[in-house]
Amino acid sequence: MEIAQIVGLALVTTIMLLILRQEKPVMAIILSIVFSIVIFTFLMGKMTSIIGVMSELTRRAGINYFFLSTLLKILGVAYLAEFAAAICQDAGEQAVAKKVEFAAKIIIAVLALPIMVAILESLMELMPV
């Protein structure tokens, strides 16, 4: 019953955050970061099994593992950026949150760029000049 543990932890953290925000806002942010890290590490094992199943699926289908690894990298970047942006927003730093989101968008674009260029070049080769 992992969900019960997560819910319990979330409720306790929320109550503590409500109290800490009034008294010590800095501590509240630290608690929020710690909670994010705990949840992330708690679910790491589950994520490993998901990735294992997907790798097996791609291997059986005879598809290059590069597809999956790039998709997972993109997903990881998106998640980390969302976590960081949410923490920044909690701290009231909207501007920093926006910068994190911007950086994540650029990194995702960089990861997807070679694929886009490859598709475009192939299509250009097909087209008569």
């Binding site: 597809f67 997903l75 942006a85 674009a109 694929i115 886009m116 490859a118 598709i119 192939s122």
Partner: protein, 190 residues
């Protein structure tokens, strides 16, 4: 037909993966970007086999993204693996045969009346198939008080019989073999 199969298979797997990953996507401003990247992968999965089929001579950039080991290469690797495995098995089997023969020689030499023995073990499937002994009996007189060996009037023949019986009993008890799996011959015939 194989191209169609490849296209359908690739698209199916990529779409299942993409929809599954989309479920996992975080809600927020980054979501459309990730969806765009996933869309590119679907595009590649569709384009690559089609381009490969219709324009066989062209060197398309996207083929690299879908590089797969050649079936022939895979087969030769598998064959080499099997050869290596077979070599290891053969080596182990000859080692086992050598050790077993030495061990049985030592045991048979303990039987009274046996002077020298040459053992040949036939091994198959990790078990003893047959044991062949070439025994030469002691020429010197063996006293009547020698335990286990009885010398009758036609001493030589009976001694050989006694030795054979003892050797058979020892080997059968030690290695759990059947009578017909043991072959014994003596130097100078019998």
């Amino acid at each position: 037909m194989s191209v169609l199969t490849e296209i359908v298979r690739n698209i199916l797997v990529i779409i299942i993966m993409a929809s599954f990953l989309e479920l996992l996507l975080p809600e927020g401003a980054i979501r459309p970007f990730v969806r765009f990247a996933i869309g590119l992968f679907v595009l590649i999965a569709v384009l690559n086999p089609v381009l490969g089929y219709f324009f066989d001579d062209s060197n398309f950039q996207i083929t690299w993204w879908d590089y797969q080991m050649e079936a022939v290469e895979e087969e030769s690797l598998l064959r080499r693996g099997q050869e290596i495995n077979q070599n290891i098995m053969n080596h182990n089997q000859s080692l086992l045969k050598e050790k077993l023969e030495g061990q049985i020689n030592a045991v048979v030499l303990l039987v009274p009346g046996v002077e020298t023995v040459e053992t040949e073990a036939f091994i198959s499937g990790g078990g003893i198939e047959k044991l062949s002994f070439r025994i030469s009996e002691e020429q010197a007189d063996i006293g009547e008080d020698e335990p286990g060996v009885w010398l009758g009037e036609s001493g030589d023949e009976q001694l050989k019989e006694q030795i054979e019986k003892k050797v058979r009993a020892v080997v059968i008890n030690m290695y759990g073999l059947r009578e017909e799996q043991i072959e014994i011959s003596f130097e100078g015939g019998k």
